[in-house]
């Protein structure tokens, strides 16, 4: 590539060559910040927006919480009042996230945000949280949602990832419940970003991958819930893009999806990893879903048709 000096994509103002030269000179100046500059920056940054609350298996969820929080930091009063999805305003959407997170908080013995938990169920808890946040400022809802998510991450980090918990009566290992929270928080952040017109970057590949793995393992459950008997059949699922991979997915809940080992399968589905996760999360339509299918086309289409079955609001 034949590029001009100044790294090709330039600081604006470059129509004047001496200005352009002067900015490039500045960028080359004695090139490290003085000692203490970063130590001064970090506390100010933390109080403006807290860093992601966790590492380890909670990290993918923690990073989505931070990303939603970043979106909320950019939200204007008009954005907060904007209808985003399900007829909810942005503030109500955050209340919904806090409600669903609250069931996980309750299941792991962490403090639950909002009014006392009356029912261990998403819809009624969401209604309670929306009523609760109704008289409050958006910023308060943001802080309460965020604080509860931080508590969940801190508490979960001290648990074995395989520990079974059953928020809303659905039993999975705690690590999978946090991936479910990751996916829902990601999708709703994307909903909000689309409506208010902010560009939302993708999660890191290292965070997408475990979420995609979780979605692959959910496939037999989505079929069961849709009343489709996958029997002894299986599909090979190849998810493309950063964080993707290939899985061998048996269609019976008695068996578990695993990284593809070349075992024979009845159908092969190849599609974008993010679109696949979003399909499981109830975004997009299975009929119009872009996928390359080989083998038993009818079976593959059945798998995709059932995929959104576990998605809630």
């Amino acid at each position: 590539m034949d590029r001009h000096a100044g790294r090709g994509d330039e600081i604006p103002g470059t129509s004047d060559p001496v200005t352009r030269l002067s900015l490039d000179v500045l960028a080359e100046a004695a090139s490290t910040p003085p000692p203490g500059a970063l130590a001064r920056l970090l506390p100010a940054a933390r109080s403006a927006r807290p860093p992601a609350p966790a590492a380890g298996f909670a990290a993918p969820f923690a990073a989505r919480v931070a990303a939603m929080d970043a979106l909320l930091a950019s939200a204007t009063p008009a954005d907060w009042a904007q209808k985003i999805v399900e007829g909810w305003t942005l503030q109500e959407l955050v209340a919904h996230l806090a409600a669903t997170d609250g069931l996980v908080a309750n299941a792991i013995g962490a403090a639950v945000a909002g009014p006392p938990l009356a029912a261990d169920e998403v819809l009624s808890r969401t209604a309670d949280m929306i009523a609760y946040t109704g008289g409050r400022r958006p910023e308060e809802t943001r802080v309460e949602w965020r604080a509860q998510a931080e508590t969940i991450c801190a508490r979960a980090a001290a648990m074995e990832p395989g520990t079974p918990i059953a928020p809303g009566g659905i039993q999975f290992p705690v690590s999978d419940h946090l991936l479910a929270r990751m996916l829902e928080t990601w999708i709703h952040t994307d909903d909000a970003a689309t409506v208010i017109g902010l560009p939302l970057p993708l999660p890191l590949a290292a965070h997408i991958h475990p979420t995609a793995d979780f979605c692959a393992r959910l496939i037999p459950w989505t079929m069961l819930l849709s009343g489709v008997d996958g029997g002894e059949r299986s599909v090979r699922l190849t998810l493309t893009g950063p964080g993707g991979g290939a899985w061998h997915v048996p269609l019976s809940v008695a068996r578990v999806a695993a990284p593809d080992d070349g075992a024979p399968s009845d159908a092969q589905i190849t599609c974008d990893v993010v679109e696949f996760c979003f399909l499981l999360g109830g975004r997009g339509t299975p009929e119009a879903f872009a996928a390359r299918i080989e083998g038993d086309e009818g079976l593959a289409r059945e798998v995709l048709r059932c995929a959104p079955a576990l998605s809630g609001p």
Binding site: D2, D9, P12, L21, A193, P199, P201
Partner: protein, 184 residues
């Protein structure tokens, strides 16, 4: 002189996801430019350092305001720094008009797109370039004053492109040192 695209994207993803180390990397990489710009406009070290802090806190607090599809992080940070510095100078100006030079009386904070170095600054830069040894001066004059690409510059000088790039970089560093000495 690396292409910033993918790097910016990854750092941005990490900052949006709340990774403080990514903020540290952004700060480390772009501090000199942001400080230099703020200093150039405000001519006050303490104020300039406050502006630098504000610029990086702004990026951390509202990282979705930056869109990697629309430009580099470097240029985004520079634009914010310039705007803040000009805002500061305008506020100061209202308080004590007499203390400021004529170039600071521009009526609106110009976005960096329209910003051109003041004549005296430009003269200092040109002067410093003219004092560079020929081997560093020539590629800089070709690449900046005459708008030649790296490859064209290399052809003009009969040197490998890599040599031209490293001489330009060396020349920029030399200029940075010289101009910094004059400033302090």
């Amino acid at each position: 002189m690396e292409a910033p695209g993918t790097d910016d994207r990854l750092l941005h993803q990490r900052v949006v996801g709340g990774d403080e180390n990514a903020l540290g990397e952004v700060h480390h990489r772009h501090y000199p430019l942001v400080l230099g710009l703020a200093l150039r406009v405000t001519r006050d070290r303490v104020v300039a350092e406050d502006i630098v802090q504000e610029v990086f806190v702004t990026f951390w607090e509202r990282p979705l305001a930056f869109d990697p599809d629309r430009g580099s992080l470097r240029s985004w940070l520079a634009t914010i720094a310039h705007r803040r510095a000009v805002d500061h100078v305008r506020t100061e100006h209202r308080h004590r008009v007499s203390a400021l030079g004529p170039r600071l009386t521009e009526p609106e904070p110009s976005p960096l797109e329209d910003w051109v170095l003041a004549a005296d600054e430009a003269a200092r830069v040109r002067e410093a370039v003219s004092r560079l040894p020929g081997g560093l001066r020539e590629p800089i004059e070709l690449a900046y004053y005459r708008g030649r690409t790296y490859r064209q510059t290399a052809e003009d000088l009969g040197l490998p492109e890599g040599t031209v790039k490293s001489r330009i970089r060396l020349g920029l560093r030399r200029l940075a040192d010289e101009l910094a000495e004059e400033e302090v």
